[in-house]
């Protein structure tokens, strides 16, 4: 029996000469997986990019060309963006949700959308890291390898069609982020951040995988579509296991997106980790976590909607309220932005809570536009903080409008964007979120969200106020209008060793004299009261320090990223394209 085809299992045949398989193998024992290669291109690009950087770093001299690693990473990111757009075009018109790689991956508009998002974040993250790492004397291939693998994990999370794949993506993403958080070798805070993130993140991963196991136990499937079809066909008398699994999965992913009450790691990590990585992490980890949550809740567990919506309701409310309020009392910019990003996650949760196509649209739009705002903001904080991350407190932005007007203008737009002022994407994001939730008749949640935004507006405005009003008062000590009780170095948490080639204080001559002259520029008005509203006594002193005297040096790549982020924040706030993409993603969900 040669030259023919024979049956190995029900449903498929193998040609014994060519080895070609036709039909779909379903029977036990046959291993055949249909692979839709175009769906895998982002993984090849990102994973390949990481491998190329690793290999080149082994063969090239230690410091080959400045910007080589960042350039390669940017190229991989651009490749991901382009491929995402190509996928978007090819998928046009298909309304079903196709799966590939043995039902492990979705190949749909949403995946393409998130691939573009992660590609953009990779490009921006790598571009702003370059200048930072050079300044800190940390240049090397490692963070870029980690960044690429993190993006790969993120794409995997967004494309995952089952809990195993989701967990795989989650772990790839998380482990890369742990290492990135701890990457600043000379800052104790960075190591601390990495360790905290590692311990709490592992706990969250364990909780997640336990939840997935419980869901598997209850439904017999690890695939979203398998779970949903099981739940559609079977009525469970006792669904405690299933509900427990669902709750644990929400906790695990809620940890990744830093929703209250699973947010405890985030302020510490944001404060300690290298600034550009924080911007990247805030965008990517959040978006990936939400992509996972979206798929799990809306594809696998739509039948439990009446159970998970109240849970998300509580998480959303807590995140918006506590994120906004706790951000008010922060003096450290990165810590403040951490709480701000917690409250922003609350808005995404509000959109998710709607559980409708409009909710999906809102989540996608909010995440995409937030990516630009948060990376742009951290890029600015990164250049302002000076060498060794010496200045992270509010006073670092003091007088920025006169020192560097364009940077101050950019920061203003990004702050207003996050506060949700019209003509920015943040406003339109809140608009679609609130529209989604009002579509379900929940005006209480909408009101809580918008009043939370009014609280949050205060700390965004405070940054703007400090930038625009407080003039520079050079270190010359003069009798201040206030007596400041604090003494000591520039901030307790950010202290620690400076880079080996230059002490931490070297960028700040005259820093020792700040305490005496600090209140001077504020005297004669109540600016001081606003600047320090809600802060503790020690933080007040920090916030009233004179600004650093060094000229703000913005590397070209960072400047370009900031410019793009600002332009995009305005562009997406007054135009249709991004919203139309988000709309197109949501279409299949409206059925």
């Amino acid at each position: 029996m040669s030259g023919g085809t024979y049956l190995v299992a029900a449903g498929c045949t193998i040609n014994d000469i060519t080895g070609k398989i036709s039909g779909l193998c379903t029977a036990k024992g046959s291993i055949h997986i249909s692979i839709n290669y175009p769906a895998l291109v982002p993984f090849f690009v990102l994973g390949g990019g990481a491998l190329v950087v690793l290999l080149l770093s082994a063969v090239l001299p230690k410091r080959p060309y400045r910007g080589l690693w960042a350039g390669l990473t940017v190229a991989a990111g651009v490749g991901t963006v382009v491929d995402g757009l190509v996928q978007w075009q090819q998928l046009n018109g298909s309304s079903v949700t196709p799966v590939t790689l043995g039902d492990q991956l979705f190949y749909d508009h949403m995946g393409a959308f998130f691939a573009v998002l992660f590609g953009v974040a990779t490009v921006a993250g790598a571009a702003i890291s370059d200048g930072y790492l050079e300044r800190e004397g940390l240049d090397g291939p490692e963070p870029y390898v980690l960044m690429l693998s993190c993006s790969l994990g993120a794409v995997l999370m967004a494309d995952a069609a089952g809990f195993v794949t989701l967990f795989l993506g989650l772990e790839i993403l998380s482990i890369s982020l742990y290492a990135m958080s701890a990457y600043h070798r000379w800052r104790a805070a960075s190591g601390e951040a990495g360790l905290k993130y590692l311990i709490l993140g592992s706990l969250a991963s364990a909780i997640f995988i336990y939840g997935a196991a419980l869901i598997y136990g209850a439904t017999g499937s690890l695939q979203y579509l398998g779970v949903v079809s099981f739940l559609a066909d079977n009525a469970l008398f006792q669904n405690g296991v299933l509900l427990g699994g669902m709750v644990l999965v929400i906790v695990g992913l809620g940890f990744k997106v830093a929703a209250v009450p699973f947010h405890f790691w985030s302020p510490d990590v944001y404060q300690g980790a290298p600034t550009p990585f924080v911007g990247y992490m805030a965008a990517v980890a959040k978006a990936a976590g939400f992509a996972g949550l979206l798929r799990v809740l809306m594809l696998a567990l739509p039948t439990l909607e009446s159970t998970w919506r109240p849970i998300i309701w509580v998480l959303a409310t807590l995140s918006v309220v506590f994120g906004s309020i706790l951000a008010l009392v922060q003096v450290d910019l990165k810590r403040m932005l951490a709480y701000s990003s917690i409250s922003q996650a609350g808005y995404v949760l509000i959109g998710l809570q709607a559980g409708t196509a409009q909710g999906v649209r809102a989540v996608a739009f909010y995440l995409f536009t937030y990516t630009f705002m948060v990376i742009g903001t951290f890029a600015i904080v990164g250049v302002l903080q000076g060498r060794g991350e010496a200045r992270n407190d509010l006073s670092a932005v003091r007088g920025l409008a006169s020192r560097s007007p364009w940077l101050a203008g950019a920061m203003l737009v990004l702050m207003l964007g996050q506060a949700g002022i019209p003509l920015t994407s943040g406003f339109l994001g809140k608009w679609v979120v609130i529209e989604a939730v009002l579509g379900q008749g929940q005006y209480e949640l909408a009101l809580i969200g918008m009043l939370g935004a009014a609280v949050a507006a205060f700390f965004y405005l405070r940054v703007a106020l400090i930038m625009f009003l407080a003039p520079e008062s050079p270190g010359a000590p003069a009798g201040g209008a206030v007596t400041l009780s604090a003494t000591g170095g520039p901030g307790a948490a950010t202290a620690g060793g400076g880079p080996s080639d230059g002490g931490p204080e070297s960028s700040e001559p005259g820093d020792s004299g700040w305490a005496a002259g600090a209140g001077r520029a504020y005297s004669g008005s109540d600016l001081q009261a606003i600047v320090t509203a809600g802060l503790s006594a020690r933080d007040r002193a920090l916030a009233l320090r004179p600004p650093p005297h060094t000229r703000v040096r913005v590397p070209a790549a960072t400047a370009a990223v900031i410019a793009v982020c600002v332009v995009f924040t305005v562009f997406a706030g007054v135009s249709t394209p991004v919203l139309s993409w988000a709309h197109a993603i949501a279409l299949p969900w409206s059925a």
């Binding site: 009446s306 919506r309 109240p310 849970i311 998300i312 309701w313 509580v314 809570q353 559980g355 649209r361 007007p405 203008g409 207003l416 002022i421 019209p422 003509l423 406003f427 339109l428 809140k430 608009w431 679609v432 609130i434 529209e435 009002l438 579509g439 379900q440 008749g441 929940q442 005006y443 209480e444 949640l445 909408a446 009101l447 918008m450 009043l451 935004a453 009014a454 507006a457 205060f458 405005l461 106020l465 625009f468 009003l469 004669g524 008005s525 109540d526 600016l527 009261a529 606003i530 600047v531 135009s575 249709t576 919203l579 139309s580 709309h583």
Partner: protein, 547 residues
């Protein structure tokens, strides 16, 4: 001629961006002429619009409309137009801004002051002209940012506090408007025939809202009303206002008090009463009560102030109360009077803050205890102040009289007792204003006060247009009333049609047969009964996680 409104909105915006882009040092001298030139050009466009505006009952609808799809997936369009209600608010806004900008700049950086002023003008114009709820909200909210930076750029000792309070109060109020607008859209869409997409266009919203159950309408009107009440400010929501007005530099107080608060009063008329006529009539006693409290309370508190600028600031609360009394009378006279009062208030409050600023320039104080006897050394300043005060009190022959008379007549017809109590406001107004005038200008000019110089020619030129408008409206209001009335009659008929149980006497309905363009007709399909139907807000099935 739809382009003219687009120009009116975009011209100051473009100029603001140009000012922001001008180099700091080298162009510092050219910023002021540029800004003033643009604002004057804007005034020319606004006057052109008012002249070209078609009068008569055949033109009760929106004129000079321009419409463009903007954010398609959300049903948002760029839709602007002007009718009798907004026409003169645009004109006086355009008149006040160049005068406010010509007042002595207080900032070290002229870029910031003129840039923010131009942006504010653009946003105010867009608020008055937009006929799309989204565009309206965007413009309404954008005014906060320049407002904040302008207040904070002043020289008052508590300016940061005042600016922050201003921003947060208004922003929190806007949260209700934000939710209200979207909820209105969603409820309207729920009533649309299947497959028809709703839009934020005011006419199509109104077509839906007039047929909503009364409880829904009331809820939404309250949400809208909170935002507008904070902005106006009506009495329980006013505490940000005296601080903000007092701490701002002269030009900024002028536009804050003259223009910004009108956004609230205009909003409640255009977006509150028009969209929810049924609820407006139901809630009118509440609004009227708050307004009357504002009239009395604002006057009394103003009379107790020891500081001229704070006195004028509290006086605006009384003025706002009067406007709301007129609007919630739902008669042709009352609403017309309310609109005329808005115009008057812009002129008079603008002029008062300008004059108070001149006193400040001379004496560097607002305290009554330090002032006195200025009439003898600065007679022109004294006389101008007197005329403006009399206009505010409502002396016949000046503009205040026309507005107050119409308001009181109109509201007396439908809501008698509120009108009666509000009348006392005119008396209280006379007390605090004349007393203030007396304390500042009469008596002997002691010490420093005796060396005060009179108004310069530049100052006279700045105040002249305001005085001219005050007298013009007082003696010949016809061109203004004839443009306002058809649109108001349309609104009154709309309110009446939506309220089966609410009959407005024929004499208060205006002169009858107005016409609006076909695409602006709002028909009340089914007069809603008092029993609320099942509302989306109360559906237990969709309430989700609330429990």
């Amino acid at each position: 001629m739809g382009w003219i409104l687009v120009v009116i909105i975009l011209l100051p915006l473009g100029a603001a961006l140009a000012v922001a882009a001008l180099p700091r040092e080298s162009a510092a001298g050219s910023v002021r002429p540029l800004a003033l030139g643009v604002a004057t050009l804007e005034l020319a466009f606004a006057i052109w619009t008012a002249v070209a505006f078609k009068t008569g009952n055949a033109h009760a609808g929106f004129q000079f409309t321009s419409r463009q799809s903007w954010i398609g997936p959300l049903g948002i369009s760029w839709y602007v137009g002007v009718d009798g209600i907004s026409l003169f608010l645009v004109t006086v806004t355009a008149l006040l801004f160049p005068i406010a900008m010509a007042s002595p700049p207080v900032r070290r950086s002229p870029h910031a002051f003129y840039g923010w002023m131009l942006l504010l003008e653009s946003a105010c114009m867009a608020t008055f002209l937009s006929l799309d709820a989204f565009l309206f909200f965007v413009a309404f909210e954008v005014t906060l940012v320049p407002g904040y930076f302008l207040i904070v750029g002043g020289e008052g000792p508590r300016r940061a506090y005042a600016a922050t309070k201003f921003f947060l109060y208004t922003f929190a109020g806007s949260a209700f408007l934000f939710v209200g607008i979207i909820f209105t859209y969603i409820l309207v869409q729920g009533h649309e025939p299947h497959g028809t997409a709703a839009s934020f266009n005011i006419v199509s919203l109104a077509r839906g809202t007039v047929n909503l159950p009364v409880t829904d309408q009331e809820l939404l009107l309250v949400a809208f009303g909170i935002a507008f009440a904070v902005k106006m400010p009506l009495v329980p929501f006013h505490t940000w206002m005296p601080d903000a007005y007092t701490e701002s530099p002269t030009g900024v107080s002028m536009v804050l008090a003259g223009v910004l608060f009108k956004l609230g009063a205009y909003g409640i008329l255009r977006w509150g009463i028009f969209l929810f006529p049924l609820a407006a009539v139901q809630l009118a006693p509440l609004a009227l009560t708050l307004a009357v409290i504002g009239v009395i309370w604002g006057s009394v508190v103003a009379a107790m102030q020891r500081d001229l600028k704070r006195l004028v600031a509290y006086g605006t609360i009384a003025g706002v109360g009067f406007i709301v009394v007129g609007l919630f009378g739902f008669t042709s006279q009352g609403i017309t009077g309310g609109i005329v009062e808005m115009i008057n208030h812009t002129l008079v409050t603008g002029a008062l803050f300008l004059l108070v600023g001149m006193v400040w320039e001379r004496r560097r104080t607002y305290a009554f205890s330090q002032l006195g006897g200025l009439q003898t050394v600065a007679p022109v300043l004294g006389w101008v102040f007197m005329v403006v005060v009399l206009a505010d009190i409502g002396l016949p022959g000046l503009n205040g009289f026309i507005g107050e008379l119409l308001v009181l007549i109109g509201t007396f017809i439908t809501h008698r007792w509120w009108a009666v109590v509000a009348t006392s406001g005119a008396v209280f107004g006379a007390i605090y204003l004349l007393w203030a005038y007396q304390r500042v200008f009469h008596g002997p000019a002691r010490a420093v006060n005796s060396t005060v110089r009179d108004m310069t020619w530049a100052e006279r030129a700045a105040v002249a247009p305001l005085l001219a408008a005050i007298i013009f409206i007082g003696v010949y209001p016809q061109p203004i009333l004839s443009r306002i009335e058809p649109s108001v009659d349309h609104l009154v008929a709309h309110v009446e049609a939506a309220n089966p149980g609410f009959k407005i006497p024929a004499k208060a309905r205006g002169r009858g047969t107005f016409v609006v363009p076909k695409d602006q007709v709002v028909e009340v399909v089914a007069p809603p009964g008092p029993a609320p139907a099942k509302t989306a807000a109360a559906k237990p099935a969709t309430k989700g996680g609330a429990k």
